[in-house]
Assembly symmetry: C2
Homo-oligomer: 139 residues x 2
Amino acid sequence: MGDELDVLGVNEAFYDAFSRRDIEALERLWAEDGQLACIHPGWEAILGRDEVLASFRAILEGGGAPRIRCFDASAHLFGDVAFVICREALGGADIVATNVFVRAGDRWRMVHHHAGPVSARRPRSDPPLPKNKKISDLN
Amino acid sequence: MGDELDVLGVNEAFYDAFSRRDIEALERLWAEDGQLACIHPGWEAILGRDEVLASFRAILEGGGAPRIRCFDASAHLFGDVAFVICREALGGADIVATNVFVRAGDRWRMVHHHAGPVSARRPRSDPPLPKNKKISDLN
């Protein structure tokens, strides 16, 4: 339970740093090395630490970055790596995100952020996909 | 390099099984246990092995599942966990995916699939985000 709470705490810190437009805090949350990546909503993947952090710097320094609230977060732990799935309340947009973390010493550091729009809603009690629904209808 | 090729091979096998509508092959690619998850394009997250596999079964048995070709795949390895970022050619849709794998014995097994639409194109040589672009413009 300790690891799960730690990972969820770092995930929360990511959204907190973003909302405070604190690029230095945000940079400290990302791993120092490794093959980092980021997919902003609707965008192609950005690969590499410098490129990922530059994208956040551009967003935060642009002045138009919204405050993001994270909710419905679940941590999925696999040893020294974990991913968190959460929803993002971001203005009027409905976003779902996958954030991947790696244990580095006694801290968890971010190595990937993938956020994308939710365009179809379904009650949680429904079957995952109706049989007459094509995956090509999902966009 | 061996691990990287292995992970990319399992990633390719996932798209191959999907395109052949081979639900049994697809099920064998997913981990037997652990906190599995899946985010189909535009959909909320599906959590849990049974729920994830049921969603693929519904898509594949629905008969409308398109053939998906995966390209531009890059493997990001962190010990016994790896994620792959790739594009999906899926009919007319432009999709980017994150697939997470965990080493189980001598095999890599899938634990998460997150696919979402690419709605904005940019040349790869451009800066990640223009300074006057807001993240709220990205959807």
